[in-house]
Structure formats: structure tokens, C-alpha cells
Amino acid sequence: MSFNLRLCMLTAVIFIAGCDGVWNNPYGLSEGSEDMVYYSTFSERPQFLDPARSYSTTAYQFIQQIYEPPLGYHYLKRPFALRSLSAERMPTVRLLDAQGRELPPDTPPNQVRYSEYIIDIQPNILYQPHPALARREDGGLRYHNLTEADLAAINTLSDFEHTGTRELIAEDFVNEIKRMADPRRHCPVTGILGEYIVGFTEFRERIKAQQDEWSFDLRPYSISGVQVESRYRYRIRLHGVYPQFIFWLAMPFFAPVPWEADVFYAQDGMSQRNLNLHWHPIGTGPYMLTENNPNLRMVLERNPNFRGETYPSDGDPGDREAGFLRDAGRTLPFLDRAIYSLEKESIPRWTKFLQGYYDMSGIGSDSFDQAIQYSGTGEAGVTDEMRERGIDLSTAIALTVYYMGFNMIDPVVGGTSERSRLLRQAISIAVDYEEYIAIFNNGRGIPAQGPIPPQIFGAHLGEANLNPHVYRWREGRAERRGIEEARELLRQAGYHKGIDQETGKPLTLYYEAVGAGPDAKASLNWLRKQFAKLDIQLVIRATDYNRFRAKMREGAGQIFQWGWHADYPDPENFLFLLYGPNAQVDNDGPNSTNYRNPEYDALFSQMKNIPNGPKRQRIIDQMMEILRHDAPWAWGYHPVDYVLSHDWMINNKLSTISYNTLKYHRIDVDRRAQKRAEWNAPVVWPLWLALIVLIALIATALIGFMRRERERAR
């Protein structure tokens, strides 16, 4: 009895002593009230934080706060607009002939041999404090000749006593391009970079041939097409014309990395301590990673050497009214720290958000009804409960498309025959994505009319964007064609009522599903029913993702669903998913359906090399008509991101392409503290009730015990 009682009281004392009125604060005493700290989560640990290797949204939410490529996206403007970041200005682009002579800017792309990007970077940008840059009094790098004895007491980067910095120079950008070419770095985009950057592939081949002899210090080696022109200027020469290259310059792949970091981390004993660039980045951005414990939390702190960017002074119409310009011209960043806690499960994450311990949150399907309600016009808004808590909703259409693909080299659903085309069209009508979005996505999505999402050049608005093969325009909105029309198409294809008129056998199609567990079962059943509307029997072939991908590479699948998230906001980044030379089976490319149409391919080649304008739009319209007619995809849907934020979050305009937005966020710390205290007062009476019940039980047991003893004694 006494032990249990003492335990309960001890627990209570610990809480009361340590939690200052609120017992459930997960940040506890370490939270400094004077700091402006942003609290968020991550559910999966980022695998790589090296900008040459990293290619996932999980990693980008960290490294885009740390590294600064030459360009970035304007925080407020939509459609997305590029602007200079660590560059002084937008790059100068020169077109050259085979002899290297400059050509006029309006030279037709097929007459251009090279294009050259000349990039001037801002002077006086400094790296974050880092031991790789620490120098001794004699000027030598302090930690570049470490012995095992020197490393004996080192377990984390903060164990190094000294740090240093230096100015960012053009050579650091060039170093990063060399790092991407280095096969030891496993850069995931070497294929496309090798295609365009002059000398990139040759450099890569040279390293591969002598891999063991090459040092990680790449300064002595050079890529012919990437040259340092001065301390603050470098140039990149490309084969031919590749206008989309400008977007690459806004990706972390092209962020600067100092050679000192490579040499520092390459020393013996570093990797055994997990000290490498994958885990301990070094950048010039507004934040630096001061705690990297991906098993627990990641902490970004203000980089004391940050150059001091200012908040944008212009934005979209309505941004001023929405309060997005109230900090115009103020120096960034606002936040002192950002703490990202590992949260794998949705229930604790959601609960902590409601308790005020996370500042922003996505919405899981299990909490959707609690958070969101739709108005009579179908507009999404927060529920009364959320409104009372001061929670706001932001939405943005993601630059993503989820589609149902038909393998175009499959003898039944693929090919260019009218029979297979009609079959695909019939299926495209029958699979009701409006219903799918409503049931499985809580209404968070818009049915796709083609591969290009809205907000991207090339996609029209309203009726002009309609896919007339699947929809008709009625009363100001797109309406899916009726199932009778799909059945008629199926009849024309020779599968009347789902019977192959040539063989007399029922039509059976095969769907490659990734996973068939309880979560997927409902959506697979739904899909089966969509095909059953046409009397087509759909056989689900469930497999794991690895095997699914292998089937795609081999062209062994028939019908499948897949998705694509844009790297950059250009129609080329979606239309290339259907470009013939990118076919997955032949060239291991991203064209998963292996669709080939010479007319489409020719138009794609034209479209990708010209700037946005009426001419490009006309070509895209032609391409869209070809795609809608051939129907290699049932066009699926574009998801819509829903993000909730507390009213103490200031400047939180959603961006679906750029992740370096942390520097713009500001927090009303006092309001947050007040709300947290208000929402999280512990409910103590059950504790006392439990104690009373426990005491009563023990007393009863004791009385019973004594009574038995007495009975025995008698």
C-alpha cells in the first residue's frame, strides 16, 4: 500500500515541480521563453542532407533552410516566380555556336550549339560557424589532420571546441557541380545533368576510371563546361538549349559546398562517428542544423552569419489584405529556432497540435471531420471547434498528379489501335475520380483534365481546360460523361457488355496494386466496382513496391496507378512523363506507360525549348489534344494540400514548390504561451479518485485478510 501511494505522490510531485502548472508540455524546462521558437514534426528521418544526394521532401524541409542555391522562388507570388537568392541577380544566358561565338537571343534552338549561364554571386556572404572552417593562429585549418587520438573525445560536431567561417565564393558552387559528377556521391540526377552540362559525363568517367586515386578535394580537377571566372562569378555551359535549366539553379543540387567540408569529413574516424555531410550540413542559409538526432528531433538555429535578406515588399493581389505583407522590408529570419520532433503516429501529432505544442499541422483522414467542414458551395473551411481555437486553414493545389496508367506495350489496353484506344477512353470515363476524391481523400483534390496541374503554364481555366473525351461542360462546370457513353465506346471497341466479340470470352484486365492490406482493400474494391460498371472483370495483382517497380521497368504490368510531383513549375516537367524517348522499358525513363506518339514527341521537342507565351501555349494545347485522344492515362487527380495553423503563426502562405519558407514565419510567442496554459491545465480529480479507490481497495483487502486470520485462529 505504502509503496503504491508513495509512487503516485512522487509522480505528482515530479509533474508539479517540473511543469509549472502545465504537466504535458513536451518541451519542458529547456524551452526558453524569450526565444521565438517554431515547433513542427517529421515522421520519417531524412536519409541524406548532402545537397548533391538529397532528393526528397523529407530532407528538403531541412536543407532548404540551410543551403542557398543561386536562385529561389518568390515567397508570395503565384504562379511561382524565380528570383535571385545567393546570386546577385538572375543569370545572364548567352547562346553560342559551335565555335563559341555568341548568337542573338532569338536564334532558333536547332542552330544553337551551346548555351551559357553566367552567374554572379553576392559578395560578403559567410558560411555558418563550422569546425571544418576553423583555423589555427598560423592560418592553417585546425581540424584537417585529425588523428584517432584527436577524435577520441568527439562524438558529435558540437564536441569540436572551435568553429570558423569564410566568405562564399564562386568556386564553392563549381565544387558542388563536381561533387554531383563524382560517382561516390550517388547524385540522383547525374543522368539529366550529364546530358546537358558540357564535360560533366567526361569528368564522371575520369573519376570512375581512377576512383581509388581521387581525393575528395576536387579543386585540382575541372569540368570543361563549368568554370570559375572570378571570385564572385562562374559560368555553366550547356549542350544546346535547355530553358528549364534556370529552375535547376533553384534546387539544392546547385547550392554551394566548400571543399573544406569534404576534406574534413573524409578523414579517418569521422564516418564511424556518423560525422559526414549527410548528417551535418554546412551552408550559408538563414539556419544551421545544431542538433541532428533523427531518432528524436532536429533543431535548426538562426545562422549568426546570415547575410540578412529582407521580407518581400510585393505579392499577389489580396496578399496585403490577408496580412502577408505586414512584415515587408523587415530583416529575415524572424525565428530563433525551429524544433522538429519525430512523430510517426498521426494521433499524438494531431493531439499535440490541438494542445498548441505544434504550430502547424496537416490533417489526417481520422481527424478530418473534426477539423474541416464544407459550405453549401463546396468551399472548405474549419469547423466551429477549430475556429474557437483560432485555427486557420490554408489550401493549395499541389504540383502533383496521381494517374491511372495503361501500359501502352500491353496487347490489350496498349497500342495505337482504335480498339485499344476506345477501351482506354471507356475506362477513363467509368473510373469516377470525383467519387474517389470524395471517399478516399476527403474531397482534397481536383479531377485532372490532363497531366498539367493548375497554376502551371499550359493549363487553362474553366471550359478551355476541359478534356472533352471524358467530360462535358454543363452549367458552368465539368461533368463526367455518363456510363452509357462509356459502354457505347466499349461496344465500338468490340467488347460489348464486357465480352470480347472476337473470342467470346469475358474481358479480364489486370491491375498492379502496391499492397493489399486493410488500408488498401477499400480502394481496391472501389476500383473493381468502377470496372464492373462496364462489365469488365478486374483482377488485382497485389505486390510490394519493389516488385511493382520491377514490373514497370520490364513492362509487365497492364493497368496501374502512380504519381508525379514536380521538380519545377514548368509544363515540360509534366509533359515529359509521356515523351517517347523517356519510355521506362526502353530507356529506364519516367514515361511509365511507355507511350509513344511521333507527333507528340515532335511537339514536345519544340515546346520545351521556347519561353512561355502564346506560341508555347498553342503547342501545349495541341499536345493536350493528342494525349486526351490517345488516353495513355486515365487522368486521375491533383491533390490539394490542407494545412492548419494556429493564429499565433504569422506569414504562413503555402508554397507547393519551395521549402525554404521557414525564414518568413513569425510567431506571437506571448499569445502561444497564454493559449497553451489555457488549453493544457491538467485534470487532477481522476488522480485523487484513483488514489481513494486504491486506498479503499487496500483497506478492504486488509480487513478481509484480518477477518480470515481471526477465523483461522478460532
Binding site: T11, H186, R273, L296, I347, T351, F705
Partner: protein
Amino acid sequence: MTAYIIRRALYAIPILIGVNLLTFALFFVVNSPEEVARLHLGDKQVTQEQVEAWKYERGYHLPLMYNGEAEGAEQFTETIFYTKSVRLFAFDFGNSDSGRNIGHDIRQRMWPSLALAVPSLLLGLLLNTTLALMLAFFRGSYLDVGGVVLCVALMSVSALFYIIGGQYLVGKLLQMVPISGYDTGFEALKFLVLPILISVVYGIGSGTRWYRTLFLEEISKDYVRTARAKGLSEQWVLFRHVLRNALIPILTGVVVLLPLLFMGSLITESFFAIPGLGSYTIDAIQRQDFSIVRAMVFLGTVLYILGLLLTDISYTLADPRVRLN
């Protein structure tokens, strides 16, 4: 006893090889090295050259079990199985497929696992023994019958229910502790209260029922009857005689678990975001990181074998009649 321990250690070698072989076969039946490489390299635009380079760096370019192109012993040693397995026996786990040092990670992550598992075990042991003694004392009464029914009910509920229910009740409704998370040092205490409480409550049903059975078995023995005939009080009989003798199977049952405490709890750690070895293993399985899965299975096997050995030894300490031959 030394000879016995040496003999058991030698027995462990074929067991470890067998378990390693089984893990290897199961893993690579599901995934080829090519697929693992593609998974690790990411989704977009992965070239065959990158896949080959990734495999080469991690030794996955070799044949799985038998190298037909090699000669002599190298036909077996120049394989993924041999190169990945042999150093495990020196507890050199190498790097994970994503490049992190596994030994370093294990050393870091075993502490949160222990911080959760040790108090759960000790408190559970204490509480279950107390409750079982009480039920044994009131055997045949309504309290006993009610207690057993309650134990069966507690046993019948899934662990997930306890976790989610506990988080909802204590973390969300009562707001007494953080609903999940972890921290270092004393700050960890408030994060551990709820998972420990849930672990203890979850174990009450099975633990109390088992211990009650052990106590009842002892109570019906002749020496207890003799003790009572001597006029000893029931309290004295229970605590001095029954408890001490029933503790032998209880303690030996606990000893086998001791080394496995390092391995952590797969579900609890994941739900409470505790960065222990249990969540490490789950993550590795989800990411298909063979190096970590193999290391953790190997470590688990070693610890289990160690636990069994300790159990045997503890028998000899607890019961003088037992001799290890």
C-alpha cells in the same frame, strides 16, 4: 559450470549461423539487391549505373550465396552472405545501407529502450506478485473469482488498445503527461510515465494469473500444510515459505528476458516516439535496410541465447538441487 558455459557458447555458433542464414534468405527472397539499391537511391531518374555503383560500394554486387566465377574457398567467401555475416561474430555491425554506423546507433538507442523496459519489468513484477499473492490468499472467494475474470479480460485486450486508450485518456483528456515524445536526462521521466504505466497495466492480466497459479501450486504442497500445522500465521506462510519457493520459476522466467530488454519494444516505442532499438528495428524493416535488420536479428539471437544461459545458471543459484552438467 565453466565447461557447461563453454559448451553452450559453442552450441550458439551453429544457431547464429542458422538464424543469419534464415534472415538472409527471407530478406533476399522478398528483395533483390537491385531492388534494395533502387529503393535507397530514390524514385526519380535512377540510372542503372547508379544502381551498380551503389551495390558495389556496399558489397551487394557479389552473388548471394555461391560465386561460380571464383575458385576454391572464394566460391563461398566472395559472396554477399559471407562478407556480410562473418564480421557480425566480432560484433562489428558495419554501416547501414544509408551509411550510418550501426554500432554507434545501437549504443545511442539502447538507453531509451532500457529506460522504458527496466522500470516496466520491475514495477510489473512487483505489482503482479502482490496481486497474485492477494488472489492466492483469498482463493475460492468472490475476490479471487472476480480477480481471475478481470485478468482474463485484461489479457484479451490488444496491446494497441492499451496504448491508444492510454494516450487518449491520460495524455489527451486528462493532460497529465505529454502524449508522446522523449528527451534526454531527467526530462525523459515525464515521457516515460505513460508508456511504463501502460506496459505495467498490459502485463497485469497474464502476469497475475501466471503467478497466482504458481502460488496456488505451492500452497497445496506438504511443506505449507506442515507450516500451518506448526501454527504459523497465514501471513508468515505466504511470505516466508510460499513466496520464496514460487519465486524460483518467476525469477528464472524474468532472467531470460533481461538481455532482451536491450532490444526494446517494437510497438510501444513506435507509438510513443521513443528513440530506442525497437523503433530502430521497425524503421529498418520499413526502409528495407538489410544491414540493420541483419544486425538486430543477430543481436537479438545472441541476447536470447545469453538469456537462456543465464536462466540455467539462475536455476542453480535459486535451487541447490539443480546441477549443470
